[in-house]
Symmetry: C2
Subunit: 367 residues, 2 copies
């Protein structure tokens, strides 16, 4: 049995490896390259579980994270975050060490990157098909054309293809709505692939909801999902996974039981879970209880949710007949709503056989 006395992030290695293996297999069967996003787990050891499945290209969401994985011998890294012109030194250092790709959608960023780096960097044009976060609007050919020229003119930058993160899928529970977004996105990317065929562009796309739902990816060459490595309650709520596939849970001590209001309080708040929430029956849910056995956890007979959190406290609604089942000093395990944020806050993993796994630390891992 694990020895836990304070909030601790648990990792079910079996589930996690199964999620990795399943996505690898899916990519193989669909004949697409698999370049998983490592922003969710941010761990060299968990990265090695991907390597064991034959993965050798990865995606990250910051320059520092790229350096962290480059130091662990990852030789082909895509930074799927817009180039920050203030950090070109870091891009250059990285491009000297590994095959570096990045995404671009701003003329100044391309210009500055070309001026201030010398080593080869593959550039994917970031394409917006409706998410409206970053990216060139997919049919803005004037901009695309001018960027292609700018990249071609530079000594070290190379146009590698088009990248698209259709994150607007996250706003839809309905499968039909999500499929519609993909149909539109794949159609737009197909048009680009066709129109710029002379450049032989590679098409990158893929978010967890899409890659979990689809089995084929049309003209997409490479998929880049990330969250699927752990999944979470949010992904369950929009139909990307089953609850039994969620591979992380937060173990928290019970510090108060309040039978008169059918609630208990745990040490586990927004500094552990984050403030991310889903709606369950018109109530906020910041997490859901599971039952921890020796080397796995399973669903409870009744659904119990973390319904309110402050900095260090979490309140769990017990319903009418459950307050007798919990006591102060118990450890309860809770599935998080957003595993990316919870794991970022908790910074290390405890596997169910008691091994600590470290992850990237923004503050101690510099460029």
């Amino acid at each position: 049995m694990l020895n836990i006395s304070s909030p601790t992030l648990l990792l079910d290695e079996v589930k996690c490896r199964r999620n990795i293996s399943k996505m690898c297999k899916k990519a193989k069967q669909a004949s697409v390259c698999f370049r998983p996003h490592f922003k969710t787990h941010q761990s060299i050891e968990i990265g090695s579980w991907f390597r064991a499945e034959g993965v050798h290209k990865i995606t990250v969401s910051s320059l520092r994270m790229a350096h962290y994985f480059a130091e662990a011998s990852w030789g082909n890294i895509l930074i799927a975050f817009p180039v920050n012109p203030l950090e070109t030194d870091g891009y250059e250092k990285l491009a000297e060490k590994c095959r570096l790709s990045t995404i671009v959608d701003q003329v100044e960023s391309i210009r500055i990157l070309a001026e201030q780096t010398a080593s080869p960097i593959d550039c994917y044009l970031d394409i917006d098909t409706g998410y409206k976060r970053t990216g060139i609007t997919w049919n803005d050919h004037e901009t695309i054309g001018s960027y292609l020229k700018l990249i071609e003119k530079s000594k070290n930058l190379r146009f590698a293809g088009f990248y698209c993160h259709p994150g607007n899928t996250y706003n839809h529970i309905d499968e039909k709505d999500k499929l519609q977004i993909y149909a539109y996105t794949l159609d737009a990317l197909a048009k680009l692939k066709n129109q710029y065929a002379d450049f032989e562009p590679e098409i990158l796309a893929g978010d967890t909801p899409g890659c979990s739902l689809l089995d084929t990816f049309g003209i997409v060459d490479t998929i880049t999902p990330g969250n699927f490595v752990f999944y979470d309650l949010f992904q369950t709520s929009i139909g990307s996974c089953k609850e039994s596939e969620i591979a992380v849970a937060l173990a928290c001590p019970v510090v108060g039981v309040y039978p008169h209001r059918n609630q208990m309080v745990i040490h586990g708040g927004s500094t552990h879970f984050s403030k991310e929430r889903i709606n369950v029956g018109n109530q906020n849910a910041f997490g859901k209880l599971v039952k921890l056995e020796n080397d796995f956890w399973r669903s409870m007979e009744v659904d119990l949710y973390l319904t309110s959190i402050s900095q260090e406290h979490g309140i769990i609604d017990l319903g009418e007949h459950n307050s007798g089942n919990f006591k102060v000093g118990d450890i309860v395990s809770i599935l998080p709503v957003h595993s990316c944020l919870t794991t970022n806050l908790m910074r290390q993993y405890l596997t169910l056989d008691g091994r600590l796994i470290q992850r990237f630390n923004w503050f101690s891992n510099s460029c």
Copy 2:
């Protein structure tokens, strides 16, 4: 000028010291003891700014945080979090080093603490006057009486008084509503003080909204606010402070400008700000832009908000005429919605004269 190229938490030391000094003065004038909560800043150096104002008793929200401050020679520490019976070892070690107080509201916790510690520990009964997070319902005299007996029977525990965090004020913008909550709370605490007068109970209360609003505190002996050290947009939104009193801001690089949709994208997302939000004109706001000058920041002429965030990206709505004022590579400064969570994520402060200030690290500072 500061040399910033990635998301960086800025601290305006002048504003912060002014907030500290103002609250110290208020406590003095109201003849209450000031035992500030250190959960917001969690920093030895910022703690020393309180010490310079004559503060020598503090409040923290976890056992590990208590150890961190005890190591920095704080000799009188209240852990304002329910006793976790799994960590009594840590309570004992701490009680051997400093004058330790804690709050209790569970019979098992008192029993286990009494059994497993030997050094003196002051216990405040945690009282609930309507917030319904933790605490004994204020008029549940049966429970209060039995806890007092239990504490009296133990060799090392001492009943010190009543503690109340009326956090329900956070749900109200209207001053009248908040004043009503205080009136009720102060009345309840007065009744307790009177009923248990033989024990000479010390009455502890105080949250930032209340301590900012009120000038006198009735029968309260000691106030314990914390957030006021930095304040934030949430506190501004409920009337606790002026925007000009907020002492932290997040400096973020602009990585994309999108004039066709009047938006820009920064490197700064939920892993920097947290997902805490307020509502401004029917829109979510995760932060608000200020203009950084050499050694201070000031309000912008127009109100610009961070209206959407994902893990690393933030989207700022620029309105119709402002996209020309920002360019890729700029650094923008943004007031956070909840400074406790933002500072917890950012883990260190950069003062406006370029000094790095460290804070407590849950993972490297053990008990």
